[in-house]
Amino acid sequence: MQTLALIGNPNCGKTTLFNLLTGTSAYVGNWPGVTVEKKEGMTNGHRILDLPGIYSLSPYSPEEKLSRRYILDEQPDLIIDVIDATNLERSLYLTNQLAELGRPLLLVLNMEDLLEKEGITIDAKRLSQMTGAPVVQISASKGTGIEALQAQIEKSLSEKKLPLCPLFSNFVERYISEIIGDDYLHQIPKGRQMRWAAIKLIEADELFLSSMPAPPPAFKTYIEKARKELEAHFEDDPEAIIIDQRYKVAEHIAKDCQIKKKTKKGFEFDSIATHRFAAIPLFLAIMAGVFYLSIGLVGGYTTPLLEELFAFLGEQVHLIADRFGVFPLLSGILADGIIAGVGAVLTFVPQLFVLFLLLSILEDCGYMARIAFIMDRMMRTLGLSGKSIIPLVIGTGCSVPAIMSSRTIEHQKQRELTVIVTPFIPCGAKMPVFALMLTYFFPGKWFIAPMIYLLGIVAVVVTGLLARALDRHKETNAFILELPRYQLPSPRNTWLQTRERTLGFIQKAGTIILLSSVIIYLLSSYSFTLQAVDAEQSMLAMLGKLIAPIFAPLGFGFWQASVALLTGIAAKESIVSTLSVTIGTANLGALFTSDSALSYMTFILLSSPCIAAISAMFKELGSKRKLLYAVLWQTGFAYLAALLVRLIVLLTL
């Protein structure tokens, strides 16, 4: 079995191609940085790997380290370099580095369908001649050129033809040749090429140097002299000289192989979408539209219908159970526990389906990356990494993968801070709680929904500023976030994401919500002496009343709300099922008021996340003490924010 490695710049369509070749449905995002680990699959009996998107093989980021280590150590039989055909010159920079690795190379010009639109013509034959690697043109998103690619893969695997190494200026080449001629280079680890090693010695690549034995003094002196002479000649450091040389080669090849027609530029949506002042209001307006469509329009019709359906189902179960003399305990568990609890959560499925669908469309069309771009500037001033935006965007779906994705952030403090602030972004599980409160207390006021996102962002900003003020060793790092082009969302990708999120939600209703509903029902029906009692004298009420006074200043100092918060630790959707079992969603108005409902929403939004997210936080923070601080900060911040929100509402109304 032979091994193929898919490699290329971020967002050039590697994962889409990987899915086409392997028949899998790995997540594809229209933004860079989706793949942070290698993925494996099979195509035509060959093993194929999808490596993270990288711009170079310099070992700066974890993605670059992973890709470089894989290619050098695992020696794939064929490197498939996926090139964004509309960005040929930039892509060829990586191609030049891949050519130096001494493995057969196949260039795949992806997005050929966009070339005409962009006024670009590429001479594939010329490109192949100049790089010494076969070239195939495809469109992974449209699925064209895949057969030709598969045929070329087989041909390249049998021919095992090596690409041409890019040649630098004579002044640099002289030193490379002399270094290659030295005996020291025979000690390079297996699989490394002499020329590649010589370049790494000029660059003083630490990762490479650490894999080599100490050089003889004469050779060491020669390398130092070479570096100094290069510095003097080019007036730059050797690493930058090599980068410049590679770009020159890429520029030369691109100039020779492509013709770019100047296209007239009309109105660009990005002039608003990424505008310093207009971007955030536009984002809030778009989110308001998303919430209006999902929670307002769809939810407005479907939620009452489904509520009636589940209420009817519960009544019928009671009627039938009474007729056949079923124990009240059993019929109660089934009707008032399972049907009421699970049903309360399931009533939100249609509106969440629409919400997930719209969020997937926003992400797939490239809009979410614009938000990332806007936030990137802010993130760095807050002491967070520019990369922190990736977890924050993913966090709109679920905090668990979002927290996990923070591991691509190099600096420990920035990574830890990102882990702590990610749960502030409202996840899909919190949506039913917000939808419930908005439906009952703020009908028609859909502008409140995007304010939840804004509040989450404010919490991130405040925490970031505070952490930065306390941090004596401020870390900064550059993060290149490339804006993907706007595209029509792929129906397959959008459907896959929406279906997966919705099914995940339904599955949670059938598992953890079901279990917690039964437990809540039992605890709310029995006293500590196991006597059937009214809810007010139940075990649950006793437990709830112990902690309820803490929340009295926030306006929800009654045991039902406190207990719902506790069950929310298992899963945030449990809050809805618990309120449904203990109060009944139709009776929320008897205990909550509009100010306490807003304060309750704020507390749920910002307080410590569910147990799955807490365990992900523990994994990433790696310390119980840090986790405790994080949870205390989140909960304390949530308490103060909820109090502030309530005071503002009380003072303004």
Binding site: S25, V36, F324, G325, C398, M404, G428, Q507, T511, L514
Partner: protein, 56 residues
């Protein structure tokens, strides 16, 4: 009397089956170390699977 016993057994069985199913799925998810947000099917499109070490 028999009908009452059968009705009680039926309701109890329904409840126990639902609970057993819920627990088994949660145990399965726990063993797979999935992100608790996605289904347990392979080839999941959930984003968590891109980041979790052993998720699917």
């Amino acid at each position: 009397m028999l009908i009452t016993i059968l009705a009680n057994i039926t309701v109890a069985t329904i409840i126990l089956t639902l609970l057993a199913f819920a627990i088994s799925v949660m145990i399965k998810q726990g063993k797979e170390e999935s992100c608790a947000s996605c289904s347990t099917k392979k080839r999941s499109a959930c984003k968590g699977c891109q980041f979790a070490d052993k998720c699917h």
